[in-house]
């Protein structure tokens, strides 16, 4: 198990290095640079600025310096936000995105497993039909629509009762997180529900379920001990990539609900060619996702003994 984990971490580090290099190359391949806009009015100023940020050096040297700093955990200073360190931006805003993302994925996973199991249990009966209809909606409607609708609904509810049940936008308390994370997790939940349902239906027909019944186990014991655990495996498999989708895809929802998450800086930085912020956020996100996927793989090993020993 330790060897397996170490192996995964090592290959994760290689992935992160690859992400950093690819981002660096892609970024420099885009025409223009961060000094293109208003500040660099004369060639002299431009030259001075370039020297200050090290943009006058050859690309290879920039790359080496950059990687060196990154290994030490320093992503440099933003080009567009005066003297703000990229580390500070990440430190200030990532916890917000992470809290939102983790809540969303928790909600999606629990909901997906619950609804999936329920629909399988009531296969082709009314609860199944209703939930599966909602699932199709959840998969096909993009999150910004749900975000806007959710917000509108919240406004109306608050107005109707004339008290503020939940804040409509903003950030700060747990109450602020509830609706945005619901909206953010909805698509994933729908996906996981479908996966869980088909997985449950497959497991019901397995021979070992028949054995469990022949052993005289109660239906609830068969459901929890034998069906659920085996049916969860495919759900756990897609959880890693889904965490990726949720944390990086969260910026639209963050925008709608005025949440000061990292997503906004990420998008802004790309628009303004803010080299250090692009690199910093991309590599950071990349590392985060790689870590999540490794974590899911390790968790998978605990659920499925067959993976553990390989």
């Amino acid at each position: 198990m330790l060897k397996y984990t170490l192996g995964r971490i090592l290959s994760g580090l290689v992935t992160i290095w690859f992400i950093a290099t690819a981002t660096f190359l892609a970024m420099h391949a885009v025409p223009g640079d961060p000094l293109m806009n208003e500040k660099a009015t004369t060639p002299e100023i431009r030259e001075n600025l370039a020297r200050k940020y090290g943009l006058d050096k050859p690309i290879v040297e920039q790359y080496v310096i950059y990687l060196g700093n990154m290994v030490q955990g320093d992503f440099g200073i933003s080009f567009t936000q005066q003297n703000r360190k990229v580390n500070d931006i990440i430190q200030d805003h990532f916890p917000v995105s992470a809290a939102l993302g983790i809540l969303a994925i928790t909600f999606a996973a629990l909901g997906g497993i619950l609804w999936g199991a329920l629909t399988a249990l009531y296969r082709n009966q009314l609860p199944d039909i209703i939930i599966m209809f909602l699932v199709i909606l959840g998969i096909s409607v993009p999150s910004f629509v749900f975000a806007a609708l959710g917000q509108l609904l919240l406004v109306n509810i608050n107005q109707w009762f004339n008290i503020s049940f939940l804040p409509v936008a903003g950030w700060g308390t747990f109450a602020h997180m509830i609706v945005p994370s619901l909206v953010l997790g909805l698509g994933t939940m729908a996906l996981l529900t479908r996966l869980m349902r088909s997985s449950m239906l497959e497991i019901v027909n397995e021979d070992f379920i028949r054995t469990a019944r022949a052993k005289g186990l109660s239906p609830s014991r068969i459901f929890f001990q034998h069906q659920l655990r085996n049916a969860i495996l495919p759900v756990v498999t897609v959880l890693g990539p889904q965490i990726a989708a949720i944390t990086t895809g969260g910026f639209v929802v963050e925008l709608v609900f005025a949440i000061p998450g990292l997503g906004r800086y990420f998008v802004q930085a790309v628009q303004q060619l803010d080299y250090t912020v692009i690199m910093g956020t991309t590599v950071f996100y990349g590392a985060f996702l790689v870590f999540m996927v490794i974590l899911v793989d390790i968790i998978y090993g605990f659920i499925d003994p067959r993976v553990r020993l390989k």
Partner: protein, 346 residues
């Protein structure tokens, strides 16, 4: 127990509703098992053997399956069509069951020990500690080496034969009075088959447990069983002791099965004779005898009317569902025709 048989099945009928129509998988089956008896149910694939025993255990999927009639009494008490809670009073406790494919019949994410212990915990209310001690003894009894270590392993770490031993250990956990073995050796290779059969027989004779052995292999029957039911197209076509079935075959289908079986008596020019054709479509079972279409001795009546079970009043336990056993039927070569007069059940 009194005068009750251990298990008495009468007129069991089971149907499956499918998209193609209703399959009449089991059409009025009667048999009984005494304590300590080994009963073999033989027949080719799709003749209703497995459905019969799975219906008794209440583990056929319902729907599409449906028990349309009959009864099954365990020590005099009706067990057919019970709800899960009531059925669990005998499943795994009074009747143990093992299946054809041990590779898929155990939960892949639970250790062998936990799966055996589970039965003990549920039926006997034992603690995890006590249950795993008994589980380890069971593994030793079923000849699994290094039982302690094996207890904590998962099914994928076992070979097929070992898994079937573990399945047997699991089914024996609560010392059932009846073990149903549904083709226990079909998925195993020949050398392992013999070991598993020997093990079953040994456990049976030591614990006085009855066994219903389902198989399509007559060699397995000869080796293990005392009594035999031959099933065809959802019905029992012949039943009797092993000697009756092998030496006094009274149904052409039994005869056909015997001719299709290799023997080690060297005979020049002896070829195995397959039974031509395949069993009838059970979506619409024939109105006559199910075997008539393949039977070399079929008469006119065979196509029209399903024969009742005929038996000789002097040996009432040997019965055959064949018109050739009716009084006045033509003599047929190879067939045992004692001039049966009594008939029971249609």
């Amino acid at each position: 127990m009194g005068t009750h048989k251990l298990l008495e099945v009468s007129n069991l009928s089971v149907e499956f509703e499918t998209y193609g129509g209703v399959v009449k998988a089991v059409r009025g089956v009667d048999f009984s098992v005494d304590a300590g008896e080994v009963l073999a149910i033989v027949g080719e694939s799709g003749c209703g053997k497995s459905v019969t025993v799975q219906s008794i255990m209440g583990i056929i999927p319902m729907p599409p399956g449906k028990i349309t009639g009959g009864s099954a009494k365990l020590k005099g008490e009706e067990i057919l069509g019970l709800q899960a809670q009531a059925a669990n009073q005998f499943r795994g406790k009074e009747i143990g069951m093992i299946f054809q494919d041990p590779m898929t019949s155990l939960n892949p994410t639970m250790t062998i020990g936990a799966q055996i212990a589970e039965t003990l915990k549920v039926h006997r209310g034992l603690s995890t500690q006590q249950a795993s001690e008994i589980a380890s003894e069971l593994l030793i009894r079923t000849r699994i080496p290094e039982a302690q270590k094996r207890l904590n392993q998962y099914p994928f770490e076992f070979s097929g034969g070992m898994l079937q031993r573990a399945m047997i250990a699991q089914s024996l956990a609560c010392s059932p009075s009846l073990l149903i073995a549904d083709e226990p050796t079909t998925a195993l290779d020949v050398t392992i088959q013999a070991q598993i059969l020997d093990l079953l027989k040994e456990l049976q004779s030591r614990d006085g447990m009855a066994i219903i052995l389902i198989t399509h292999d007559l060699a397995v029957v000869a080796r293990t069983a005392q009594n035999v039911c031959v099933m065809y197209a959802g019905q029992i076509v012949e039943q009797g002791s092993v000697d009756d079935i092998f030496y006094k075959s009274a149904h052409p289908y039994t005869l056909g099965l015997k001719l299709a079986m290799p023997s080690n008596v060297s005979q020049q020019n002896k070829k195995l004779e397959p039974i031509p054709g395949s069993p009838p479509d059970l979506f619409s079972p024939p109105s006559g005898c199910g075997y008539a279409a393949r039977c070399p001795h079929a008469m006119r009546i065979c196509h029209k009317e399903n024969p009742p079970l005929f038996s000789d009043p002097r040996e009432p336990l040997h019965a055959a569902r064949c018109w050739l056993q009716a009084p006045g039927a033509p003599k047929t070569q190879g067939l045992y025709q004692p001039n049966l007069i009594a008939s029971h059940g249609a």
